[in-house]
Symmetry: C2
Subunit: 96 residues, 2 copies
């Protein structure tokens, strides 16, 4: 089902992965990103791209999937908040 309400922004989660005492500047350098870009992500002002997910995976030893999946959940949740035209289900699913 993959239910989840109000999934966290990936940046919040990434925060928890940064080793104690590591500066944002250091992390940005390690990832080959600018300090501004990483700061934006960590403060939920930018999202994680496929490219960034791959960098995080290499750096942290996680799957890239983890990050891209998290971003997807977040995006879906945000998009669901916005108005959208009513869409009629293609067929009334008749089970019985």
């Amino acid at each position: 089902m993959s239910r989840m309400h109000n999934p966290p922004h990936p940046g919040e989660v990434l925060r928890e992965w940064l080793p104690e005492g590591m500066t944002v500047t250091e992390a940005a350098n390690a990832l080959g990103l600018s300090r501004v870009t990483l700061s934006k992500i960590l403060n939920t002002h930018a999202g994680i791209t496929a490219d960034t997910a791959l960098r995080l995976a290499k750096w942290l030893g996680t799957s890239a999937d983890l990050w891209i999946g998290m971003q997807g959940q977040y995006d879906l949740w945000q998009a669901a908040k916005k108005p959208r035209p009513k869409i009629r289900p293609i067929v009334a699913k008749l089970a019985a």
Copy 2:
């Protein structure tokens, strides 16, 4: 693990969900998208956004997750093909 090599573009998969005989034009109308946009998706010339995933979910009775996840896998695979600076793992994970 979520391993997958060469994951299909979501548009290819969407193709299979369209009922026999339904025209692209009809499907686009049902989804509230322009014909051009849907055609691009089906021909793998555009991706599926969170908004589009929600429309597909409503229309087809699937989860939105399915589509956004598929797009994520596709994006990751494409991104992985491109060059990226070498990134040193943060710590050599010493298990023993």
